[in-house]
């Protein structure tokens, strides 16, 4: 039995109960996993700039949709129909196998009360899971770690952000940011780990020095030769880096969260072409992620979730684009996901005073689901209040 497996078994309350029920290698073999198992991977994908949900998950039978978007609607006969009312944008073709395998959940109508339409402020609200008028320092993932996820294992790093300087949901966590594991290990030569002593400021610095060298230590290792072909674009490179991070963690305490980014989706003008290209990258990147993590035997313990600062206005603007809105659907994918559509699609005939859609699912319900059902921690501490989880996980 690998050291990590032993750690996993003894690390969570429910893990101990599994002792003896699974042979060595269960981490790769078993699909039904204990809530809170510490070898789980959450991949967050930020769709930067505010993705237009109505053209991603298209209400192709709704005449109002076609009235609101006379020149930028996705034509009825080109959508990928996933039920009798909703269809996917045609450039999301690569996601069809996931949908058919029941590994893709789509949560519709996601937003929050008193939506803020500034990119910078609204993404901060999503990252910190704050109320609209509240400023929090820690990201929501950091709060989950503090709420006890992986309390008894020692993660190499609590999170890895690919190509980002901003820690976002991981602000306040023990996280590292990198373009690829090799370059990070190289840069980490500057780290000066040591016993954390001195005043609190110096102790903090030394802790971070230690975090860098510890993460670098864990990310060292031979490059895994994937059979998967990664798309030859920026997002494809990020997906490859994410897969390499997972590969280096075999037999180690692991990295529970990886954050990727794609965009800009800020399509105020000429939306059709821009969004099509981005959604194609998203779909193909997700498919490559699934394929590469399946090679590593890690797909069943991986949960992928998109987020974005907001959706876009229901009615198109004068420039064949859309302006900042309130509500959008989000993708949740993975081997442990129960696929399908969740939550009602927004009603296009019902707009608020700013001509925006009403949300039906609070984004903190998604986080609460991850906290409770994926990590096994009390969601109230993570989202700071009661938010009903969404049942998109099989375990």
């Amino acid at each position: 039995m690998k050291r990590r497996d032993v750690l996993n078994l003894f690390s969570s309350a429910t893990g101990a109960a599994l002792l003896g029920t699974h042979a060595p290698g269960w981490a790769q073999a078993v699909q039904q996993r204990a809530t809170g198992a510490t070898d789980r991977i959450l991949v967050l994908i930020e769709l930067k700039g505010g993705n237009d949900g109505l053209n991603m998950v298209v209400p192709y039978t709704d005449d109002t949709y076609y009235q609101l978007r006379s020149s930028i609607a996705i034509a009825r006969d080109s959508v990928i129909r996933i039920d009798s009312r909703m269809g996917l944008h045609p450039d999301l073709q690569a996601l069809v196998p996931l949908w058919e395998k029941d590994e893709l959940a789509i949560v519709q109508g996601v937003g929050y009360p008193q939506a803020n339409l500034s990119h910078f402020r609204s993404i901060e609200i999503w990252e910190t899971a704050s109320r609209s008028g509240e400023y929090l320092a820690d990201g929501w993932v950091a709060r989950a770690m503090k709420a006890g996820y992986g309390r008894d294992v020692h993660f190499a790093a609590e999170g890895v952000l690919i190509g980002l300087n901003d820690f976002g949901p991981l602000a306040g966590a023990r996280a590292v940011t990198l373009y690829n594991p090799e370059a990070f290990v190289n840069q980490a030569r500057f780290a000066m780990p040591g016993h954390a002593s001195g005043n609190p400021a110096l102790q903090h610095l030394l802790r971070v020095e230690n975090d860098v060298s510890e993460a670098a230590q864990a990310l060292r290792g031979e490059k895994f030769a994937f059979a998967t072909e990664f798309p030859a674009n920026g997002f494809g490179s990020s997906v490859r880096a994410a897969a390499q991070v997972v590969a280096t963690q075999r037999g180690k305490a692991g990295v529970p969260v990886i954050v990727l980014t794609l965009g800009s989706f800020d399509t105020h003008q000429g939306q059709l072409g821009i969004q099509a290209g981005l959604l194609r990258q998203l779909g193909e990147g997700l498919a490559a992620l699934r394929s590469s993590l399946t090679e590593l035997g890690a797909w069943d313990r991986t949960l992928v979730m998109t987020f974005s600062e907001f959706g876009r206005r229901a009615r198109q603007n004068q420039s064949n684009g859309t302006d900042h809105g309130t509500v959008a659907p989000h993708f949740v994918a993975g081997g442990a996901v129960r696929g399908g559509l969740y939550g009602p699609a927004p009603e296009l005939t019902r707009l608020d005073g700013t001509q925006n859609l009403y949300y039906s699912t609070d984004f903190r319900q998604l986080y609460a689901t991850v906290a409770r059902d994926w990590w096994g921690v009390n969601p109230d501490n993570v989202v700071r209040g009661r938010f009903e989880p969404v049942g998109f996980l099989r375990t």
Binding site: F120, A171, Y179, Q187, N199, V208, G263
Partner: protein, 522 residues
Amino acid sequence: MTPARVMAALLLAAGMAAAQAAPRAMTQAEARHLLVRTGFAPTQAEVDRIAGQDAQRVVADLVARAQAARPLYPPPDFVSEPPPIPNTLLKSKEEQLAMRQQQLRESLELKTWWMREMIETPTPLAERMVLFWHNHFATSQQKVFRSQAMWHQHQVLRAEALGNFRRLLHGVAKDPAMLVYLDGANSRKEAPNENFAREVMELFTLGEASQGGGYSEQDIKEAARAFTGWSIEYADFSYRFRPALHDNGNKTVLGQSGNFDGDAVLDVMLEQPAAARFITAKLWKEFVSPVPEAREVERIAQDFRASGYDIATAVRELLLSPAFWAPANRGSLIKSPVDLVVGTVRQFGFSYTDTMPFVLKSAQLGQNLLVPPNVKGWPGYTEWINTATLLERKRFTEQLFRAVELRGESKEPPIAMGPGGRMLPGDGSAMMQNAAAGPGAPRLPGRDGIMRVAEGMAKITFDPEQWLSQYGGHADREPSDELKARLARTLLAVPATHDIAPGTVGVAYLRTLTLDPAYQLK
């Protein structure tokens, strides 16, 4: 004794204690500490100028000279141009895009100008105070979207940086940048916007309600009514009171009632002892230590309030307080990105032709001037340091010195702007988007700007032989044990955490010292 006399005696005793604590003849270390905290990392000449002198006299002089300071360089040209047409009147997308690019360019010019002032000023306390107030009254170009308004606000901050907090507060509250940033400009009696009313209490004067601010949600609602009508004349982007939008009714704020306007409500806030306490505690965290001492804050806050909110009074008392001189508080603060960049350039006397690379480096390290992350400003202290920013900080000094060490052998620019040792522009569109989209991330100045930055970076240099010669050292020789100790005291606020390998020669020795975690402290 009457209560007033008791109070006077207590104040006198406290004042004497402070006078005793502040050294009569500052050591080199004490002189250095005073200059680091009131400015940026000083040169040896600056330290020598005040070492051996009475701290009380030097502090008075530092404050007086900062009050009299004027900028060294004329402001960027755009500040005297007519204000731009409101964006909503620009019909074509091309015009709007051009406007965005113009705003980006102008705000970079303003930051570059300010960065140069910070690096070259003979009165760094003045610049530190402007930066302090920029962080206190945090307002972002990203929302204000008018470089001229940001410049105008900058002038308001500058004028009262060590002046009067009452005038500063009233000035900032009516300044168009703040009226846009916190949505006051469109607040009217039918629908008062509570954004400014809330933040002026929580962040600008009283402090969080749960932390002793002592206001209620109802106070916010009532104060919001008083601020209605404070608006903007969009033709020249100036402040304008619009009586038709103002609520003339009776308001009750913090226990006082009257037909208050915004000015009256600000004065009601300043009548609260909590206001002086809150500002004093914030200044304490800037100058003294991360954890204010309640009793000392109370003493200084009372004097601050009694002086009619004279900022210099509070700053002088903080700098002469026993806590400021306590050895335990030496090196207890973390350098901000601006501290690190400006301090390094000043202390070593790096030469440069353009300060834009320093603006971008500071932004990359998490402090994008004119673009604080939100109305709370940069959280600072330990929040400056995470795995990414720490490595980038080290890469900054590493490469500054490496370029000197390799001079003549390499064409590499001394500062690479992107992670992994690469320059951002060459890193492809994904990275450009990341750089452009993240809050706090640097905004790149277009293709011409990129060329300008690359050229600016290539021209940053420093003469290690000359710098080391003031201590009797040499760039190509290992320092003596005595010199090693001297360099550590000169460059680090606390002892180094790591030993440097024997045989390391002068310039490499300096580089390695800047990589020690202790270099990030002040």
